[in-house]
């Protein structure tokens, strides 16, 4: 006769199978009541572990700011503006002396750019902060840290000046505001409305950017756009062009849009329709999907004329997200500018930076440094991030302690429950087990038999609770955005959750020791004592 197998075990003798089947059914209770109860208890215990770990991971993610060691001084602020040169000198000198062991950035410009949105139409405003490609390697490295980098479309760890001519790094928050899929940013440019409209290449999407900004661009691009219209800072010979492209978002109303735009431009500005194309392959835009080009202009349009057209289009064709574009290469910094000597151009020395940033490796040194700058320049640093980090440490410790306590007490309660269940079961049938022993059944048979039963009960309850847990987590993930559930729930993990497996392993190990001792103690009685209930 071949050994009989069940889902869990291989039985060598028919008696083993009979005993296992009958006693397992008895231990798991009527209608599997005990198994259900155990599954529920385990489910809530494991759910607590998963939830606690998710909360901690979420907090950790939130707190794991690559810029925690970066401090920003808003030197364009009225309070510091008159001391700008002195403050900059102080930072340059102290960075060189390493008295406080900090490294500094050359300085940044801040700007507000208006972006065309993808789905909802209209525009949104986003904070921009600039950096110096040649000197701010530390800052760029912080941005490109593995934990911060979500999508890398442009190999940002190997940035080149060419990439930064029209390339920007944006935060995940901006992606949400733009109402687009991240994947779309790989092939489509985002367009800003700043005087004229300019398509930008997204080099990377990151978790966060310095100073809570949403766009990170090279100094020269920011300066070029800030100064656009005031002077010929781009390095190109002329801003004028006789070609005008209108970018619009159309659906099934294309013919009507074309008629309306053509009529408007003809009647108001005397522009003649030239041709129409789908968005150029080399210039796929995220927000507009159709381009119409107008030629045959009587004369080149200067900046003020273009602004009038732009205003009119924005007012009259608002629903179509209409944007004008000339030769967009006119707007981005000329290649020679990007490669220029950073110290010799007015972008870095002639202009006042809006922000001076520095990085302190040892956060405990920030307080003495704060004292110095407060006394010298009445300058207060924003230490909220540092304090938040310290608070996180406390919260994290408390959470771990509470989770461990919860797991301990839950596990303890479950084990007590199981232990009493098994003990009372054995006591109830001690007469029968004694009879089996009297007939010559080896104690090892009962010992192994009950260990198998307990193992199967715990393994079944654990498996079931894990299945429910996985199902619940899946359901939460699928519905969390629709139901506006807290974001930290998205951090719940089952299979990669080391805490969960550790809790299960400890629970299994303690169960084994506990039940082994119970069975050894129970079976140490002679059969006669079991049959006649002599303790």
């Amino acid at each position: 006769m071949k050994p009989e197998r069940s889902l869990f075990f291989k039985f060598k003798h028919p008696k083993e199978r009979i005993f296992h089947r009958r006693e397992y059914n008895s231990v798991k209770g009527k209608k599997s009541g005990i198994l259900v109860m155990l599954t529920v208890l385990l489910f809530f215990s494991l759910f607590s572990v998963v939830l606690g770990k998710a909360g901690l991971d979420y907090l950790n993610y939130k707190m794991n700011d690559p810029f925690i060691k970066w401090f920003n001084i808003p030197v364009s602020n009225h309070s510091y503006r008159h001391n700008y040169a002195e403050i900059k000198k102080f930072f340059d000198e102290n960075a060189a002396s390493h008295e406080f062991s900090f490294s500094k950035s050359t300085g940044s410009y801040r700007a507000l750019w208006k972006f065309y949105r993808s789905e909802g139409g209209g525009t949104i405003l986003a904070f921009v902060q600039s950096f110096n490609f040649w000197e701010d390697k530390d800052l760029i490295n912080s941005i490109c840290e593995e934990d911060n980098l979500i999508y890398d479309f442009g190999d940002v760890k190997n940035l080149t000046p060419e990439k930064l001519q029209d390339g920007v790094i944006i935060s995940i928050n901006l992606v949400k505001d733009l109402e687009c899929d991240i994947a779309d940013l790989k092939t489509n440019k985002i367009m800003i409305q700043d005087g004229d409209n300019l398509p930008l290449t997204v080099l990377a999407v990151v978790k966060s950017l310095p100073n809570r900004s949403q766009v990170f661009a090279e100094n020269r691009l920011v300066v070029t756009l800030n100064n656009y219209g005031e002077s010929n800072v781009s390095g190109s010979s002329s801003f004028e062009s006789n070609e005008l492209s209108v970018y619009v978002k159309v659906n099934d109303n294309e013919a009507r849009v074309k008629t309306e735009i053509s009529a408007l431009l003809k009647s108001e500005f005397g522009l003649t329709y030239g041709d129409e194309r789908a968005a150029k392959p080399d210039l796929n835009l995220l927000s507009q999907n159709k381009v119409m080009t107008f030629y045959d202009l009587s004369e080149n349009l200067d900046l003020s004329a273009r602004r009038r057209i732009s205003t009119k289009l924005a007012e009259d064709l608002y629903p179509y997200n209409a944007a004008l574009m000339y030769d967009h290469s006119l707007l981005i910094p000329h290649e020679s500018m990007v490669y220029g000597d950073p110290e010799s151009k007015d972008y870095s020395t002639g202009n006042m930076f809006d922000i001076l940033s520095f990085k302190i490796e040892d956060l405990s040194a920030i307080s003495p440094f704060q004292d110095v700058v407060l006394e010298k320049y009445k300058m207060e640093l924003d230490l909220s991030q540092v304090e938040a980090k310290e608070n996180f440490g406390v919260v994290s410790f408390m959470s771990i302690f509470l989770i461990l306590s919860l797991v301990f007490f839950a596990g303890f309660a479950i084990l007590i429950y199981l232990f009493n269940l098994m003990k009372s079961h054995l006591e109830k049938i001690s007469m029968n087990l004694g009879t089996f022993l009297a007939f010559g059944m080896p104690k090892e048979f009962l010992y192994k038999g009950y260990l198998r039963i307990i193992f199967r009960l715990i393994a079944s309850a654990t498996l079931l609770s894990l299945v429910f847990l996985t199902g619940i987590i899946l359901a939460i993930r699928l519905t969390m955005y629709a139901l506006h559930l807290p974001e930290f729930l998205g951090y719940m993990e089952v299979f990669t959750n080391i805490w969960l497996w550790l809790a299960i392993a400890v629970f299994g190990g303690v169960s084994f020791v506990l039940f082994r001792n119970l069975l050894k103690s129970f079976l140490s009685c002679p059969p006669g004592d079991l049959i006649y209930n002599r303790s």
Binding site: M1, K12, H13, P14, K15, I18, F19, R22, E23, N25, S26, I429, M431, N432, G434, T435, F436, L437, A438, F439, G440, M441, P442, K443, P526, P527, G528, D529, I531
Partner: protein, 254 residues
């Protein structure tokens, strides 16, 4: 004489803690036949049965030089067995003994057949043979075949007792030990069961050692009757009331 002994006792005492309750100076229980143990309640009948069935260690003051205890002609030091050789105890129980208790001790969550199989000594290949033997015994006990699939909770008290008899008689054993096996039955049913048991024991050339209160049943079916009676020393002792010539037939297989 000792060669035909299921049990042989010489200078053996039984008791609990430090108290001796039964002293057997010399007693031989033959290897075949129906042996009844009678005596007043609480005198030590069940203690004796438990001890010789190796269910409890109530042996006292065993002295290698003056005491002797043998099962099927093999001498044992029972105190040593209990302390040092539990595997041997299990092996003796498995190979030699079978039991019937006053309370049937059937597992209510097992079917009747499963209860019988759990107590039987068989290899996996012998399951079908054992089940056939069970069916034959059911017929002898006037029990229907379909009772095998039922739970002990679904059958009457009398049927349970008959199932306990079947459980005891099935498979390989040499000595049947029964403690008040018909204690819960009326006299007619008791007689019927003892009749079947007596026939089976004689047919299979085995010995049944039975504790009972019914001395009339003992006299009717017993080949040997051992009475346990009190003494002035504070412990009980044994006396053989009846002993028929009923000898073990060498070579007769069960």
């Amino acid at each position: 004489m000792q060669n035909d002994a299921a049990f042989f006792f010489k200078n053996i005492q039984f008791g609990y803690d430090s108290k001796v309750i039964l002293n057997i100076p010399d007693l031989l229980i033959p290897r075949a036949g129906m042996v009844f143990i009678i005596g007043p309640s609480g005198i030590g009948k069940s203690t004796l049965l438990e001890s010789i069935g190796l269910m409890s260690n109530t042996f006292k003051n065993f002295d290698d030089s003056s005491s002797e205890f043998s099962i099927l002609n093999e001498n044992f030091n029972p105190e040593y067995l209990w302390k040092r050789d539990e595997n041997k105890l299990t092996s003796i129980r498995e190979k030699l003994f079978s039991f019937i208790f006053q309370t049937t001790n059937l597992m209510s969550n097992f079917s009747v057949l499963e209860n019988i199989l759990m107590a039987a000594n068989f290899t996996p290949d012998e399951q079908n043979k054992i089940e056939s033997e069970v069916k034959l015994l059911l017929k002898k006990m006037s029990l229907p075949d379909d009772i095998l699939d039922r739970s002990p909770q679904e059958i009457s008290g009398g049927q349970k007792q008959r199932v306990a008899f079947v459980r005891a008689l099935v498979g390989q054993f040499s000595i049947l030990l029964a403690d008040e096996p018909t204690g819960n039955l009326d006299i007619e049913n008791s007689k019927a069961l003892f009749g079947i048991l007596s026939d089976h024991i004689k047919e299979k050339n085995k010995v049944a050692v039975i504790v009972t209160h019914h001395s009339e049943l003992a006299h009717e079916y017993g080949n040997m009757i051992i009475e346990i009676l009190p003494t002035k020393n504070g412990y009980a002792t044994t006396r053989v009331l009846k002993k028929e010539a009923f000898t073990f037939k060498e070579g007769v297989k069960s």
